[in-house]
Symmetry: D2
Subunit: 181 residues, 4 copies
């Protein structure tokens, strides 16, 4: 079983990545930091005669890499009660993948499992629940199994170490993933 971690945060070594490290500790995985990639917002051409134009950015390369793995871990800071615009742009582009005949996006991603790790500063265990429900709908649409999520609480750099509850949940998920590798 191989694992890809998609980081939606926009700052190095932030709390979300800190929590993800606890989850992935000692587990081989591929890290993809979306902030280091160029991913343009989707231009909705679903209904254009010729379909989507090719886009000159890193999206295609990333999605092909992602689809080589069995387990996808999506991580994002909670920005304004949602995933970051950086991660949202990446997911928005799935609409393009759904219409790309050069590979079977839906058939392939439907065989995988997803986990979500998010960290927010403003009562995230309540206020990030709509975010979780959105991702549930998103994963359902493509048949991707939503296996679990961890919501951490942190604001200032390094704060995440003080969230003892997120820590025990991360340790639990670490065990869970190790048992599957």
């Amino acid at each position: 079983m191989s694992i890809a971690v998609l980081h939606g945060s926009t700052r190095d070594g932030g709390n979300t990545e800190g929590l993800a490290q606890l989850v992935l500790d000692g587990i081989p995985h591929t890290e993809i930091k979306l902030r280091d990639k160029k991913i343009l917002p989707i231009h909705d051409q679903r209904h254009d005669e010729g379909g989507f134009d090719a886009v000159d950015d890193d999206y295609d390369e990333i999605i092909r890499e992602v689809l080589k793995h069995d387990v996808l871990v999506f991580t994002s800071p909670v920005y304004w009660y949602g995933i970051s615009g950086t991660l949202k742009n990446f997911i928005d582009r799935w609409s393009q993948s759904l219409r790309d005949s050069s590979y079977d996006f839906k058939g392939t991603i439907a065989q995988k499992k997803a986990y979500v790790i998010v960290v927010g500063g403003d009562n995230p265990r309540i206020k990030a629940l709509p975010l979780i429900l959105q991702l549930k709908h998103t994963f359902d649409f493509v048949g991707l199994g939503f296996e679990g999520y961890i919501i951490g609480k942190a604001s200032k750099p390094g704060d995440i170490v003080n969230d003892s509850r997120a820590a025990v949940e991360a340790a639990w998920l670490n065990d869970e993933l190790k048992a599957q590798v």
Copy 2:
């Protein structure tokens, strides 16, 4: 009372803008199409010593224009059960505005009213509710009054004319706004 409409859709003349037209029919307003602007994803520098670096794009100009109006109408197609990445990037940048000492973002926006218009294809009156809850949290955070929302259902170009329920809600909101202008 002046109205600014912020369009988050990525295609000209789409269903979301069609529904917005019904709402704004005969009402003077400023249109801002985010897809025609350059808005970079936020780079989270909230905790950097020097704060946020200046960003070379259209965000500042747009937010200053927005803040001149009394009523803000946010419109977005429902992309993957959330607002478009284009609109999300715009809102993410509010974190930068909150720390910009050249104007009082929070104090100013807290005096305004917001409406939301979204259109989706997959059971949006249920599956877009997390999106509405997110925007509620977002508006609450800055003190912006959330006065109402309309959820339309449409997929193919032009479909929105078949959503008779969205049409009566749009007519109602049109009356409401006209009474305030």
Copy 3:
């Protein structure tokens, strides 16, 4: 097409029933006021060897009546951000119906359509959304189609007449139902 309206409110002539009247105006339907019936809370015996004991109340008679109709309209005031305990007790008892071999509860209800009308006093178009999502899960579980909902705002007796938005939505649904009768 026949319609049954299940009222979950606990007071005569309240705002919820007022809004329901607008929706059903001129449309033949069966009214069931749960407050006038005796419905005990469920005693969970799903896992008892002998299954559920017979319960001496009005539930069985009501559910059999309900199942004779094609369209079910559930109405409830928003009590503490949920449906009333009176309506909740009724729905909780569906667990008993699911195991009652004297009729095919799930097979029968799955052929019907449901509408929901709720009225609350505290920002119900936002704060009653979790209630709507709960009923969506509930209807999905038994295969009952969730065709639509109307959320009204009112507190004091008679207040509902001031909710012009709920009124246009009710008129729309009235047309919709009339076209189906």
Copy 4:
């Protein structure tokens, strides 16, 4: 610090109470099993001239007992994606307490902290989130601090022991509460 646990389940020794036992292990607390009490559904008389009539059941005694404690733990099986009708009836009656001049319900409960423990069989970590959001609104209305929740997954009697994630969360909360006693 004293703790009251309000059980909303309707069966002895069920999974929800099993999970609650892990949370409360070794911690003195008062147990209140609502199923053993008589609590009538509310009859909404908020707008009657004379207010609410006295009700001949156990509600008053229970709420007075509850208010003697500092921490309130609400437990409920997830019935139809909500709290049980038994617990809902109890909470619905708070509307009566809010108007009872013989004690200061809101002023008193606002000084307390609440935890929630729920257990469901159908993907509860997603499908019980609306339930959590409802209780958040409920607690906010009376100023009761919502300190945390645990969602367990179980269906058949005894199943809860297989939910290793709920177990680590329960152990965490047990530590947390012990530190406060």
